[in-house]
């Protein structure tokens, strides 16, 4: 064996162990919760989705969240129907996703229980529109469990959601979104 072969072997072993390690080290949420709230003087509207998926990489701070529009539950059947058919066109755009980062991930110590304040930035896609989102939230570390919380607002018009004139007074232009994601460490 010459030098070159040895170098290649060492490099391959080193690189493969590296990819294995980063792949292993992630937090996964499968039944996270995202709800939204629209407030006007005429009507308050709330809907909840308990089937939200997310992957958080503790080393890099990379954060991905995805949900299916049809999994939102409304109190009123009619609202759910209008939401899917008219506003979100969920047959055409069945999912919505966020891809971004926890910018100050180095301030979160995943080996130490506690609640950490985090800064989140990234791209939110709803229907066929993608916009930058900047918000804050918390990560609560409790052993192998991590709970992520955030609340932020979006403007419906930014995502091509048009509200017909007839119901304009009932639906707020700005919607408050709340996310609560329970992560488990993946081995």
């Amino acid at each position: 064996m010459n030098y070159k072969t040895i170098t290649i072997i060492i490099l391959t072993v080193f690189l493969s162990s590296f990819t294995l390690k980063t792949e292993k080290d992630k937090y996964v949420a499968k039944n996270g919760k995202v709800s939204f709230y629209s407030h006007t003087d005429v009507e308050d509207i709330r809907a909840e989705n308990n089937k939200v998926s997310s992957i958080l990489e503790p080393k890099t701070g990379k954060l991905a969240i995805e949900l299916l529009i049809k999994s939102f539950h409304f109190e009123k059947a009619l609202m759910e129907e209008h939401f899917n058919e008219n506003y979100m066109e969920s047959d055409k755009y069945p999912k919505s996703k966020f891809e971004g980062n926890i910018d100050n991930i180095n301030e979160v110590d995943f080996s130490k229980n506690g609640t950490y304040n985090v800064k989140i930035s990234g791209n939110l896609t709803i229907k066929d529109k993608t916009n930058k989102i900047n918000t804050t939230g918390t990560l609560k570390v409790d052993g192998n469990k991590v709970t992520g919380n955030t609340v932020f607002k979006i403007i419906l018009a930014d995502y091509n959601v048009s509200i017909p004139a007839m119901v304009k007074s009932k639906i707020s232009k700005e919607i408050e979104i709340t996310a609560e994601l329970d992560y488990q460490k993946m081995k």
């Binding site: 499968k30 308990n50 089937k51 299916l68 049809k70 999994s71 059947a77 009619l78 069945p94």
Partner: protein, 135 residues
């Protein structure tokens, strides 16, 4: 003439009230559109997501398979996940809390038939909501 106008107004109000209070679709009592095994369903869905969306989204489906994950208590929407051919993917079925007694008796590794509404393909597999256990 007045009676006619009055009738139209009352009919309009009644329709409005009916629509406003229209109940949610009763999936439990509806006939299924498809009945398929969890393994075949995931294979078909993941091979062609777009066509599967057209075929299956919002449809009532009975899916049968082996339970691989259970999250029943301490949750707003209890979940039973069924095994597919891909280890990291499941058919994840969300239930209303009223079914809690049907769900408590389930065990990982057991076979089950679940009826629900197909919401699409997510990060970790296919998602169903408004499910019930088919007996």
């Amino acid at each position: 003439m007045i009676y006619l106008a009055l009738f139209v107004i009352i009919a309009a109000i009644a329709t409005g009230v009916y629509l406003w209070n229209k109940p949610h679709r009763n999936i439990e009592k509806s006939k299924e559109d498809f009945a398929i095994s969890a393994i075949d369903f995931y294979t078909e869905y993941s091979t062609d997501e777009n066509n599967s969306n057209t075929k299956y989204l919002n449809k009532i489906i009975i899916v049968s398979g082996i339970i691989t994950e259970l999250q029943i208590e301490n949750t707003e929407e209890p979940t039973v996940a069924l095994k597919t051919s891909d280890e990291s993917m499941t058919i994840s079925c969300g239930f209303d809390k009223k079914w809690i007694n049907d769900l408590k008796i389930l065990k990982i590794g057991a076979e089950v038939k679940i009826k629900g509404k197909c919401d699409g393909l997510g990060m970790f597999g296919i998602v169903f909501t408004k499910c019930n256990i088919e007996k």
